[in-house]
């Protein structure tokens, strides 16, 4: 049985109208029936609080609030109806430092523009099939920033060792 996206709702937050329309058309082709649109992080957070969508697909660069701030609000604002919501961040940047910034804000998946239909599908399939554990610490709340988790090792030094070894997975 294939995926049934007809009961899934997606919020697209994108200030570039043609890009928003393109993303919406792709998601409609995938079978998503409920697609909400917002033009920036501020509108996006209002729509998120009101509709509690299953997935958020947000652009990075927007004014007055960008996709990173939106992600932080989804994760930490008391009004947020679901701090665990998957956030797929779209951006033209692909440099390592930028990816790290996005990851540290609590983004679930990173989608580099220009993208193709398969790449968007893969990010969605990823949040469905391999949802990340969440981590709450003094410094961070969001999806586990390590892709590969060694389930056999639960030692107290694991995070320290990962840090020391420069784990970027």
């Amino acid at each position: 049985m294939p995926y049934h996206f007809d009961t899934v709702s997606v919020l697209i937050v994108e200030d570039n109208q043609p890009m928003a329309m393109m993303a919406r058309a792709i998601l409609q082709t995938f079978g998503v029936k409920t697609i909400l649109l917002a033009k920036n992080g501020e509108e996006g957070f209002e729509a998120f609080c009101k509709h509690n969508p299953d997935i958020v697909v947000a652009d990075w660069m927007m004014k007055p609030l960008d996709g990173i701030v939106l992600t932080r609000m989804i994760r930490s604002e008391p009004r947020s109806p679901n701090p665990f919501a998957p956030v797929i961040l779209m951006t033209g940047f692909s440099e390592r430092s930028r990816v790290a910034t996005a990851r540290d804000s609590g983004v679930t998946e990173f989608l580099v523009k220009p993208f193709n239909a398969k790449q968007l599908y893969k990010r969605i399939a990823q949040v469905i099939e391999r949802p990340r554990q969440f981590i709450r610490s003094e410094e961070f709340f969001g999806p586990d920033r390590r892709r590969l988790v060694d389930a056999t090792f639960a030692g107290p030094w694991k995070r320290h060792l990962d840090h020391t070894l420069g784990d970027e997975s």
Binding site: M1, G92, F115, E129
Partner: protein
């Protein structure tokens, strides 16, 4: 590790319920549906050039501002006035039928990410990129298969970048 630091690093691991999986079920999407979605991108009739020209004008404005305010404003802030429109050109070009704009802008971003301070020679290189982008737009050069002109253009830009870093290796 001190006790204080160890406490600071303590973390709670939470496994949220996977409601999404319950909603969509299993099995993925048929390859044909993904191809249909890709067709929407490939056959878009949106005319990107007016939007692209706006981003290019913003890039040219960033170059002008950097040229006049160098030394007065922080280098990173000046670079961001050029890198953001370049990023928009890179992100949108290939989505709307102009892969060559994406190829050239991606090289420009790489260059801008590597320079610490925008000196006049760096600005010459950035200007070269802006002129190349302007030429691509004026000629309506989509560059889907790169072609000779696209290859020559990117090789010339790569050469300009190489010469710059030969002179300023750090």
């Amino acid at each position: 590790m001190s006790k204080e630091r160890a406490k600071h690093r303590q973390a709670e691991f939470i496994t949220p319920p996977n409601q999404l999986k319950l909603k969509v079920g299993s099995g993925g999407l048929d390859e044909r549906i993904i191809e249909m979605a890709q067709n929407l991108i490939d056959k878009t009739d949106f005319d990107f050039l007016p939007t692209g020209q706006r981003y290019l004008t913003a890039l040219q404005e960033g170059i002008r501002l950097t040229g006049t305010k160098r030394g007065e404003i922080d280098g990173e802030a000046l670079i961001s006035t050029m890198i953001h429109p370049a990023m928009q050109l890179k992100a949108n070009g290939a989505m709307f039928g102009y892969p060559l704009i994406t190829v050239v802008s991606a090289r420009l971003i790489l260059f801008l990410e590597q320079i610490a301070a925008p000196n006049s020679e760096a600005l010459d290189v950035v200007n070269g990129f802006a002129n190349a982008l302007q030429a691509i737009m004026l000629m309506g050069e989509r560059g889907k298969d790169m072609g000779n002109r696209g290859t020559q253009l990117t090789e010339a830009l790569d050469e300009a970048v190489r010469r710059y870093f030969e002179r300023y290796p750090d």
